[in-house]
């Protein structure tokens, strides 16, 4: 039963890693750059919820969730407009360095606004349910349900709607998409809003499960990187599998190594994949899929 519990908590954390990874892999797939500031969208989502739940607004958890996700999306669009778009004709490494700069600005702003201490939400979801002898927390169920619903919605959006097809077209062949006159501005907004919103949702779930920490964005970014590399850059559903694999591997590892070192797993996966299979496990082609 101990291992089953580890497995379940691994899948639950993995579900949040998958949510973190969507934006990172979509931005790479569409705009061909790695956004090092993506982790701060996770952290700002989590802290944004706190902001709306504390006085003066004092919203309920349910009422604060949508504005928190929206805040993260606005930050993403603002960063894109101010830091990335003016550099879009420059070398990829220039935008990458700009994104590292943006991550410092966003993280410092977070610390300035909320302080450096650990925080937690003024509500607690501490219930557990018993599933055939295995204890599962309500938060873990919420994590898995949120990821399942998000990826189902994302799949529908990318396959069935016009904007989703435009997103995949830009990722597949940006030159042809421009010749066809597909709406780049709408695609840009969709990619950033979806990526930031899902990252923020993941951040909120992690915040419910443990604490809010100004550096949570950085550790989230590492997990997202590993998930993106497993899935193959640009592959949204590869990132889902990647996230679940990392979460599970990490949690099962605590049976043999100290939980304090479990972040080692994500780093080891990044290292090995970059060394042997940089195109991802289910590789082949590029593009948002």
């Amino acid at each position: 039963m101990y291992y089953v519990e580890l497995l379940i908590s691994g899948l639950a954390s993995g579900a949040t890693y998958a949510l973190f990874a969507v934006g990172l892999t979509m931005v790479y797939g569409t705009f061909r750059f790695i956004n090092f500031a993506h982790g701060e969208l996770i952290a700002w989502g989590a802290y944004g919820l706190l902001l709306f739940m504390l006085p003066p607004l004092s919203l309920s958890f349910a009422a604060a969730l949508a504005p928190a996700l929206a805040l993260s999306a606005i930050i993403a669009l603002g960063t894109e407009r101010i830091a990335f778009r003016p550099l879009r004709k420059k070398a990829a490494v220039t935008i990458l360095i700009a994104s590292i700069g943006a991550s410092y600005v966003l993280r410092s702003a977070l610390q300035l606004a909320f302080g450096g201490d650990l925080k937690s939400y003024p509500v607690a979801f501490e219930g557990t349910v018993d599933l055939m002898g295995v204890r599962v927390t309500h938060v873990q169920i919420a994590m898995v349900a949120a990821a399942a619903a998000s990826f189902a919605a994302l799949h529908w959006l990318l396959r069935k709607t016009r904007i989703g097809k435009y997103m995949r077209a830009f990722a597949n062949n940006p030159d042809l998409a421009a010749i066809y006159g597909l709406p780049l501005a709408a695609v840009r907004i969709a990619v950033w809003v979806l990526g930031a919103g899902l990252a923020a949702l993941g951040g909120v779930l992690v915040g419910l499960d443990s604490n809010l920490d100004p550096f949570m964005g950085l550790s989230g970014l590492i997990k997202a990187f590993a998930a993106v590399l497993i899935g193959g850059p640009g592959n949204v559903f590869g990132a889902l599998i990647g996230g679940l694999l990392i979460g599970t591997a990490e949690n099962l590892s605590t049976a043999v190594i100290s939980p304090g070192y479990k972040d080692f797993i994500a780093f080891a996966i990044i290292f090995l994949l970059l060394l042997f299979r940089p195109q991802g496990l289910f590789a082949g082609r590029t593009g948002v899929r």
Partner: protein, 235 residues
């Protein structure tokens, strides 16, 4: 004239690739631009299409000056550009490619009807409409790229090297398709490496060399011209 280009100069960065190019395409005409590799043939099309901005000259389409307008605006006005090489979305399905080709048709039902019409014209596409495009042959992909013409009913099509990299029987099929477009009243400005085939279906040809107009003439006369034969037809 449907399209009149006068003294067009364009390029990438500061140095022009084409200088003072002039050409005309009348309604329902197929006109070819031929010339050796690096003569600037593709650049002519890209400048007319709106992919690159001309530094000098006039482009008049359907009575209106269009230089500096975007590809999207030109597509909406009935001037479409089919580029060479990667001219389909190979990670998407055939049907999705048609949907993207007709994205400017805002009404979903109307778009669906147009796609049905394309599938009626090309029955092989119906069988493979939900399959991924990267599984198609080179000739099939090229025919899919050209199907955008059946979808949008443009007045003028700019075709860049439609025979590039295709097997000989596929090339024949593509060229008879282009000739059929002309018969339907669609005007075509065709850039080709395969000068003999291009001139055979064109009313007029322009020979480009090092970014400049060298020769102009009727399709058949140009193909018989000893200078052209020596230069490009291996005669």
């Amino acid at each position: 004239m449907l399209l009149t280009v006068e003294n067009l100069t364009a390029g990438y960065g500061a140095r022009p690739v084409i200088r003072d190019i002039s050409l005309d395409v009348g309604v329902g005409e197929i006109v070819a631009v031929i010339g050796p590799n690096g003569a600037g043939k593709s650049t002519v099309l890209r400048a007319i299409a709106g992919e690159i901005a001309p530094t000098k000259g006039r482009i008049v389409f359907d009575g209106r000056e269009i230089s500096g307008r975007s590809c999207a605006e030109n597509t909406a006005d009935g001037l479409i550009f089919v580029p060479q090489g990667r001219n389909v979305f190979d990670q998407m399905s055939l049907r999705e490619n048609l949907e993207l080709g007709g994205h400017q048709i805002a009404d979903n039902r109307q778009l669906k009807e147009r796609i049905e019409r394309v599938l009626d014209i090309h029955p092989w596409m119906r069988a493979r409409q939900h399959g991924a495009v990267h599984a198609l042959s080179g000739g099939q992909r090229q025919r899919l790229a050209l199907a955008r013409i059946d979808l949008l009913d443009p007045a003028l099509v700019l075709l860049d090297e439609p025979s590039l990299g295709l097997a000989p029987d596929a090339v024949g099929e593509i060229f008879s398709g282009i000739r059929a477009m002309g018969d339907r009243g669609v005007s075509v400005l065709l850039v080709e490496q395969n000068a003999a085939m291009a001139l055979a279906i064109s009313v007029r040809g322009y020979v480009l060399e090092q970014g400049e107009n060298r020769l102009t003439g009727k399709g058949g006369e140009l193909a018989a011209d000893p200078r052209v034969q020596r230069l490009y037809l291996g005669g």
